[in-house]
Symmetry: C2
Subunit: 464 residues, 2 copies
């Protein structure tokens, strides 16, 4: 106490400016702190969850598992075989939804997939089937250990990457990336979309299978770590990642015994698509996050996913329950003559990258991303810096050079989001809202704020 009286006062001020100004008028320096009250109505749940004696330990356990789980590409297999899908079983991105509430791009992708599986001759013919609500199944990718970008539709004849944790054998799955523009995952289903998918199943995927099996497991987290040094954030920039994947698989592709024309065609296809690695970043992120599922008392988010209508999150401490709200419209840059009126609300499982400390959370590592999603370079730096406010740690493998090799912000804490009102920053592609259109742009989006109080309430209910 005596030292307090000897020293000059050191003043921190939060909230309204009036208090800070009054002290400054008396000649004292005031350090202003950015602060907002917690989300309205959450005070009781927040107090209850914050007082949960399991919370700190559970969250550290969750973070430890997330950052230490390895993810290896071990195989490429048909979805029908590895996920047990019949020709009329369809998986989709995001939380559960039926045809009746499905957005345009999800409907478009389902129509295309139905034609791909031979259920109908023309994609449009499948509308009646899906509207009938019978004769098919439609479930989230996440419920089958899988993730899918944008519409995220997986059907039996598509092939998937098989990603595994070598320590436990746990697996996750994702389709192969089709490229940009008019592609199934953005809701396009024209003849060129379906013929590309057939070539991928007939030529590309079997060739990759041969290469992966001959080469042995590919360490995806090592590639992700390098990407963060090379301007990729692994959601909307996967340029270096795609090149590094090619580097790993090429010798085995060349020696596969496949005709050199097919090898060259495959190399050209992958080379021409800077997003090819996204479909490996996603299952790698899911694999690491799934390791934190089921930790009682943990308030860490283990999935963020959108079906084009709803945005849903799951937490480590609340099992398989989804907490949902309306998917938001992204703000960003549009292709060609498209504009905001053409865009569908946020869609896809790809926000799993942000959930794992990449994507929008790693934007400072990828300042060139602003030329794809809009904004200024300073926005990219600030986005990453802001995410440290709502995460419980830093990813030791994903070091951002420009932030003096600080690890990316990792482990979104529901309590921190509710307390600060800072929402996770997601980099995303934008699909056209009409089925059949394809990609219309790319930009930035956040979850609907309400999903976090909902998750908090469930967590509060579970406090003993």
């Amino acid at each position: 106490m005596s030292r307090l009286l000897e020293q000059a006062p050191q003043v921190l001020a939060a909230g309204v400016d009036l208090f800070a100004e009054a002290i400054e008028a008396q000649g004292t320096t005031v350090q202003r702190v950015e602060w907002r009250p917690p989300m309205t109505g959450c005070e009781a749940d927040l107090a209850r969850v914050m007082s949960d004696r399991r919370r700190v330990g559970a969250n550290l356990e969750a973070l430890q598992r997330i950052v230490s789980t390895d993810a290896e590409l071990i195989d490429v297999l048909p979805a029908g075989e590895v996920l047990g899908l019949a020709g009329n079983d369809f998986l989709h991105a995001g939380p559960p939804i039926g045809w009746d509430r499905a957005s345009g791009p999800l409907r478009g992708a389902l129509l295309g997939a139905a034609a791909l599986e031979g259920l109908v001759a023309e994609p449009k013919d499948a509308e009646a089937l899906f509207a009938s609500g019978t004769g098919y199944t439609l479930e989230p990718c996440h419920h089958h250990g899988a993730v899918g970008p944008m519409a995220g539709v997986i059907s039996a004849s598509m092939w998937v990457f098989v990603v595994a944790d070598p320590a436990t054998g746990r697996r996750t799955y994702c389709t192969l990336n089709e490229g940009l523009g008019k592609v199934l995952r953005y809701g396009a289903y024209g003849p060129e979309v379906l013929s590309r998918l057939r070539w991928m199943s007939d030529v590309l995927a079997p060739l990759l299978q041969t290469a992966v099996r001959a080469r042995g497991p590919v360490d995806l987290r090592a590639i992700l770590a390098q990407m963060v040094q090379m301007g990729d954030e692994a959601h909307n920039r996967n340029r270096a990642g795609t090149l590094m994947l090619l580097r790993e698989l090429l010798p085995a592709m060349v020696e596969s015994g496949a005709p050199s024309s097919q090898v060259a065609e495959a190399v050209r296809f992958v080379s021409a698509n800077d997003h090819f690695f996204l479909n490996l970043a996603m299952p790698a992120c899911k694999l690491t996050l799934d390791s934190a599922r089921g930790i009682a008392g943990s308030t860490i988010v283990v999935a963020m996913a959108r079906n084009g209508t709803d945005f849903g999150i799951q937490t480590a401490g609340t099992g398989d329950e989804w907490f949902t709200g309306p998917a938001q419209l992204a703000e960003g840059l549009f292709l060609g003559s498209y504009g905001p009126e053409d865009a569908n609300p946020d869609i896809g499982d790809s926000a799993i990258t942000e959930t794992a400390g990449l994507g929008g959370f790693a934007m400072a590592a990828a300042p060139a991303i602003v030329r794809f999603v809009g904004g200024q370079v300073s926005d990219a730096l600030n986005a990453s810096r802001r995410m440290y406010e709502i995460t419980i740690g830093e990813h030791p493998m994903y070091a951002i050079p420009i932030l003096d090799f600080r690890g990316t912000p990792t482990g979104i804490d529901v309590t921190k989001v509710v307390r600060t009102q800072i929402l996770p920053q997601i980099n995303t592609g934008m699909a056209g809202k009409q089925a059949g259109v394809g990609q219309v742009g790319a930009g930035l989006v956040t979850p609907p704020a309400e999903v976090f109080p909902k998750a908090l309430a469930a967590l509060a209910h579970l406090v003993r």
Copy 2:
């Protein structure tokens, strides 16, 4: 004048602090400006060159040529064939030098090259030949349109990349990169070094020749522009560049008709060497800089090169004259148990990258470089920012994301170096000073300051 009296004074202070402090004591804000006097003894030459009415126009012409010259990889050929070298003709990095003054790594590389060309059975046996001063030629790469990293030795049976300006047909040349560690360019000449060089001439280079000819010209500046977005500065980081080169050449390599085992071996070799693209960045930089040679009145540097003993520069306005001083020791990080006492002074033509606005000048684009050459991330940013003080423009194709896409500092102006005493920042590898050792580290270095007053004096002499 009347407005001057109405306004509060705005004070800039340069030089000693006393003046600034005196004004601050009177309650006026002083903006301090970093300033140093020009290099001692250069005042008269500086005044003469600065008053040259050709200077501004000549320098703008030089910059315009440097930034607008395209550089394409068009072929891969044996040096003997394309440079007209006989088995006893040797090229080396840097300004002219004889065996008597040659440093350890240059001597080591020459011994190895003599054995490679079959002049002697064992590299050591060639010492007598070189010491005799007869029976061979030894000339700078730069005198033959070529550049070579580190020792930069080129002999007849080595193959070289052929880089051309499509507008004029002008060409430059560089050997293929051998990788790191015990390699000829770092002065090593053991059996593994020579057998690697033979494999490169017998297998790798002919395969690349077939691929380049089948594919057509590869736009190297487009790759360099992408590299600057992907964390490469094209001198000590060429990781993304190497991957992009592979992407361009792979389909044609696969379809070359060569045995798939050879294609796979070549892909593995290039893939395992993140510096492979350096030997394309260098001739591309030389090609653009050579376009500015011979512009009367221009004070722009068109070459910086080191032979391990001397550091030399050439300017646009002084023809083929070299201005030299003693090569400096780099400061940086050492491999294994090597230390500063093991390092040779600065060596190699690779400072052509800095001369063209890349390398140390583009460090802000490659903050991860500090893990290779030492220092802090802030040093990398500051290095690029400081280089704007001694260059006359920015490279429109090489945009640094973290500096809000500002172009890299390009066109080193001798007058600016002399006026500011700021020396060009070079990222470099460090060779062992003993012949045969190989690489011992990597770090940062500058030219000896005296080369700039020497060039300035020659420029002053030419002012009409």
